[in-house]
Every structure is written in C-alpha cells, then in structure tokens.
C-alpha cells in the first residue's frame, strides 16, 4: 500500500478527507484554542448527529446513481408532525416517533414509486417533494409557526443524554472486541480456504488503530459530560447500513443497480423493488434526522430542516467520496464528510464569523473534494479501472 502510487492510480480511499479534517482542525485550533477542547468536540458530536443520519440516507440514493432533493423537507415535516402529534394531540413520545418514521418511509415509497414505476426522473420527483413537504410542514405548524417540546420528554432525551463514563468504556470495548473478532475470524477462514489474506501484522494494525481512535474519542468525551447517546446512534446507524450494503444480497443488489441497472435486471434482480426500497430508507432516515433536529432544539419550527439541510447532506456524502454516478461510496465516508462540514460550522461559530463565510468555505471544501475525486477518476481511467 504505497499512498503515492495509490494517488496516481486513483485509489485514494478516505485519506484525502482524513488529512483534510486534520488540517481543518489544526487551523481552527491555531485560531482559537478552545476548538479542540472536550466541550467543543462534544458539541460537535451532537451537531453532526442529525445531519449525519440524513446523509447516510443520501448515500443509499447516490449509490443507485440517483438523487433525493427532498430529505431536508422530509426532516422538517417529520419534526413538525412529531410536535403536532405529541403537543396538540397528546400522543406518547414513542408512539409519535414511530408514526413519524412510518410517515417518512411512506413518503419514500411514494417518491420511489413515481420514479421507478412511472420513469419520472428522481431529480424532478424529489424536487417536487422538497417543495410540497415543506408546504405541508408549514401548514401543520399553523398558526404559531413553532411548537415547543418539553425539556424532559423522551424526544428531548435523544440528543440530551450522555452515557456514564463506565457505560462509554463498555460500549467502546465491545465495539473493539467485535471488530477484532471479525478481522481475525475472517482472516483465519480465508487462510483455511487457501485464499490470500492480510498478514497478522496488518490485522493487528487495523485493530489497534481502531482501538486508539475509539479510545481517544471516548476519553475526550468522558472528560466533559460523557459520550452523547446521539453519537452512539449515528455511529450505530452508519455501521448497520454499511454492514447491510457490504454483507447482504440486498446491499450487493443496490451496488449492482447503481453500476449497471440492465445487468442487474438480467441477473434476476427486481430493480424496481430495490429502487423503491432505497428511496423509502432515505426518507425514513431523513425523518429520523428531523426527530433529532427537533430533539436538539426542543422545538419544531418553520425553519427546521429548511435552508441548506438537503444540500449540506448531499455535500457531506460527496466530500466523503460517494460518487454521484452511482455504485461507489460508503456510509463511513458520509460520516467523515459530515464531521468535516460540522467542524467548519463549529469553528466558524467559535470565531464568531458570519454564516456567509461558513457557506463560502463549505463550498471551497466541497469543490476541493470533487476536484480531487475527478482527478483520481482520471487516474483510474488511465490505469483501466474507471
């Protein structure tokens, strides 16, 4: 694994984003020494939870080679529905959360069906969705425009709960043990089957590397208020969706449809069902992101999920290396992309800079990411791996 050779041949992986993240962190730390404090990093973890969840849904849609412009509005509508159900109609928090998730899935099924069955471009279907669901969100919130949620409800607790230090460590150790078991089990099975496998050193490096990363994160977060529950949820969703994508027939089918829909169809894959289900999952995750937004702000308002939510979620996925042309990318990339964009927002906030500056810097990072991707794709072409 020679990084320079990988750069030229177009196999960069996640390294540019990781390096970019370190650069961003270093710059902000130089400008304001409160940036890399436990408190600010805890805040950052909370900030990215909602956007990260929405972005995971975007990854699924992008893997198909499609786009979903409605996720921000679906998140906003989800938050509004949640507030209306619990505050105005007296629903229990859990029941309302489930109802919102079902609503999200149904919206996705509707949009996905119009796209997959009627052949209307996903861009247009979800553009209409983004306008229409925003309208419904505003309609539901009339006349107040904002509905506040109680500070002590289950909904609020989603993003306002921190694990105890011990619980944080237990989860960290559990994650590392599961990862180590998977790495070594896979290695021994490959060796037993006579297939090439990673060396023992490589396996150890991977496990130790992950252990250091998780250990450092938990140590820092524990030194403030503990690991936020919302971060565990986000990382859990990221890992779960990645597992489904890489290890199940369903996930393989998504990659196949994104790579060559006609080949997938001829191989007997029901591409219509795959497409509809992916749009349903994306809207479901968007609705859950909306629940987190409402939870974090203790309210659902007209601007929840509005403004640039959709575009930032797409940008996060693209910065994380997910191809807009389908068939390439991972949920971890989107998570990384969300952390990059969250770091910029957080740093700008610390420096008390206007959001106008944040938008311009976000644009520059997005452009840098896609230019790098275009260059590496050219490298892949030159090496016959386009």
């Amino acid at each position: 694994m020679n990084p320079l050779k990988n750069l030229r041949s177009g196999e960069l992986g996640a390294w540019p984003v990781i390096i970019g993240l370190f650069v961003i962190w270093a710059v902000f730390q130089l400008l304001n020494d409160r940036f890399l404090t436990a408190q600010n990093l805890s805040n950052l973890a909370l900030q990215v939870a909602a956007l990260g969840t929405i972005s995971i849904g975007i990854v699924l849609v992008l893997l198909l080679g499609e786009i979903d412009l409605s996720v921000g509005s679906v998140a906003g509508l989800g938050a509004a529905t949640l507030a209306v159900l619990t505050i105005r109609h007296g629903w229990g928090d859990i029941a309302a959360i489930i109802a919102v998730l079902v609503l999200g899935a149904l919206i996705g099924v509707l949009q996905g069906t119009i796209f997959a069955k009627l052949g209307v471009p996903a861009f247009v279907v979800t553009l209409a969705g983004s306008i229409g669901w925003l309208g419904l969100q505003l309609f539901l919130l009339r006349p107040e425009g904002t509905i506040n949620l109680p500070y002590d409800g289950t909904i609020a607790k989603i993003t306002h709960t921190n694990l105890s230090p011990a619980a944080g460590w237990i989860i960290a150790i559990l994650a590392i043990v599961i990862y180590a078991a998977a790495v070594f089990f896979n290695r021994s099975r490959r060796l037993a089957a006579g297939l090439p496998a990673i060396s023992l050193t490589q396996a150890l490096i991977r496990v130790v590397g992950l252990a250091i990363l998780i250990g450092a994160a938990v140590a820092v977060l524990n030194s403030w208020q503990g690991v936020p529950l919302a971060l565990i949820i986000l990382v859990g969703i990221t890992a779960l969706v990645d597992f489904v994508l890489k290890r199940t027939r369903y996930g393989r089918s998504i990659f196949a449809v994104g790579g060559n829909a006609e080949a997938a169809r001829r191989a007997g894959i029901n591409i219509t069902a795959i497409r509809i289900s992916v749009f349903a999952l994306a809207s479901l995750l968007a609705a859950f992101g909306g629940i987190m937004l409402a939870s974090r702000g203790y309210s659902a308002g007209q601007s929840t999920g509005a403004n640039d939510t959709t575009l930032i979620a797409i940008a996060a996925a693209v910065i994380g290396g997910v191809s807009l042309f389908g068939g390439r990318g991972s949920t971890y990339g989107a998570l990384l992309g969300t952390v990059v964009l969250g770091s910029i927002t957080s740093g700008m906030f610390l420096l008390q800079l206007d959001s106008s500056i944040r938008l311009m810097i976000t644009a520059a990072v997005l452009l840098a990411a896609v230019i790098l991707d275009a260059l590496s794709r050219r490298g892949r072409k030159a090496h016959g791996r386009a």
Binding site: R252, E262, G326, R385, A386
Partner: protein, 265 residues
C-alpha cells in the same frame, strides 16, 4: 453419432409482414461448436432468441435430449441448461469479478454473503477455464475486453448448463484478446458442452467451430464441416450467389495486384 442435446426443427417466426424465420432446423451435439453465420437480417438473432426463450417461435419443435420441450420464457431455457452470453455482456463495472460472477445468485451463509466460498469457487472456476485475471477482487472495469468476455462466459457456466449461446463474443476484441476467447471456447468444448457461436468473423469461425450453419433470409442456406469448407463457399452461402460483392471485390484486387489473393487454408 449420438442424439443431439438440442434439436430444432420447422422453426418459423413472423414479425408482422416480415417472415423472420421459416422452417429452420438446427441440431447441436455435446462437445461440439456450431457457428451460426449469416448476413444482417438473416435471422441469427431471432433464432438465438427462440432458443434463449426471449422470443418464442410461432411454430416448430424443440427437442432437448430427444424429448420435446417448450421454451416460452428465459427461465425455461435456463432451467433446461441453456446459458446465453449476450454481446453487451451485462457486467456491473463497479463490482469485482466475484461480485459479477455471482450477481443475482450470491451464495449466502446465515443470510449473509459467503464471500469466502464465492471467492474460492470463482478462483477455481476461472483456473479450470485457464482464464488469466490479475485478481478476482478487482472491479471488472479494470479488465481488458477479452477478460470481460471471459468473465461473462464463466458466469454463464455457474448454472451448470449443457448448451452455451455466445452472441458475437469476439466482435470488439483485438487479436490477442480474440485468441483468449477462442481458447476459452475450445475449453468449453473439451468439457463436453455444446456451444452455439454467432459470429461475423469467418476467420474466427473457421478457427474454432466444428460445423458452420448458414442462415439466409430466415432459411437454412447450407451446412459445412468447418475444416473442409473454404471461406469462399461459406460467403457464397451467406450471400446466396456465386457472383457476390465479396468475390467481385476479390477478383478486382487480384487483377489490380496481379498476384494471388486466395485464402491460405
């Protein structure tokens, strides 16, 4: 000779006013490569679609190992043991070789992809076919045209077919890559498979086929032992005239060069 594994007789098919196939017969035996040749519009593709179950015939009989069968849809053909490799290969460029080989028929264990079993079997299959690929874990986008064709053919073998239909397998390939694919066709033949090969390239046909069946205007227009027939004879059957564009061109060139332009055997 033993009985044909696949025997078609009296196959006819109309598209509106066009009689695409009329009373066509075709027998294919185990361990035999039959080349199906003919000009554009001669009915080769229509006949392949009949066999593959994509476009069933209007009338005619299909016998599989002596027994009459009905091939009404692609699944019927697959079920009998007929595998088809279309010209556009239908590979997903972003998936690796293993992913493409098992696309739509992934092996699973406890509901999860059994990558290790698939990779082991894929490696064994490709080795047994003498297909040389740098790694079964690279995306097929990184393979040469010949390697891609080999992967597509190897995929068709996973269902353990008895008859393999190859539609123009060498059409877009260079010289070395064509040789790779022709070697693979030889391997299929040695394995006892019946291969039906559609090709426009008579040099390839003569190099690999045992028998050449010519279609012209939807009818059988000649059957040759590939080793015995000359290219001129086959061209003559394809065009239906002793005096055809190909022979006239050759005659002109012979005069112009003043040399001998006859085909080497």
């Amino acid at each position: 000779m033993n009985q044909p594994v696949l025997a078609l007789s009296g196959i006819s098919k109309r598209f509106g006013a066009v009689q695409a196939l009329s009373d066509v017969a075709l027998d294919v035996y185990r361990g035999e490569v039959v080349a199906l040749v003919g000009d554009n519009g001669a009915g080769k593709s229509t006949l392949i679609k009949v066999i593959a179950g994509v476009g069933p015939a209007d009338t005619g009989e299909i016998r599989w190992e002596g027994k009459p069968v009905n091939i009404a849809k692609p699944a019927d053909a697959t079920h009998l043991g007929i595998a088809t490799v279309y010209q556009d290969l239908a590979l997903a460029d972003n998936l690796d070789v293993v992913g493409n080989l098992y696309l739509g028929q992934e092996r699973t264990q406890a509901g999860l992809l059994d990558e290790i079993r698939m990779e082991k079997q894929a490696t064994e299959l490709l080795t047994s076919l003498s297909v040389r690929i740098p790694s079964v874990r690279i995306p097929v986008a990184g393979l040469s045209g010949g390697q891609r064709q080999s992967v597509a053919i190897a995929r068709s073998l996973l269902g353990d077919p008895k008859v393999v239909l190859l539609d123009e397998p060498t059409a877009a390939l260079g010289v070395a890559q064509t040789a790779e694919v022709l070697d693979l066709i030889d391997t299929l033949k040695k394995r006892g498979l019946a291969v039906i090969l559609i090709s426009h390239n008579l040099a390839d046909v003569k190099a690999v086929a045992d028998r050449v069946e010519v279609l012209r205007l939807g009818k059988n227009a000649g059957s040759f032992r590939a080793g015995e027939a000359s290219q001129e004879e086959i061209v003559q059957a394809i065009t239906g005239a002793l005096d055809n564009a190909v022979s006239r061109r050759k005659a002109r060139h012979t005069e112009a060069d003043g040399g001998d332009a006859s085909e080497p055997a």
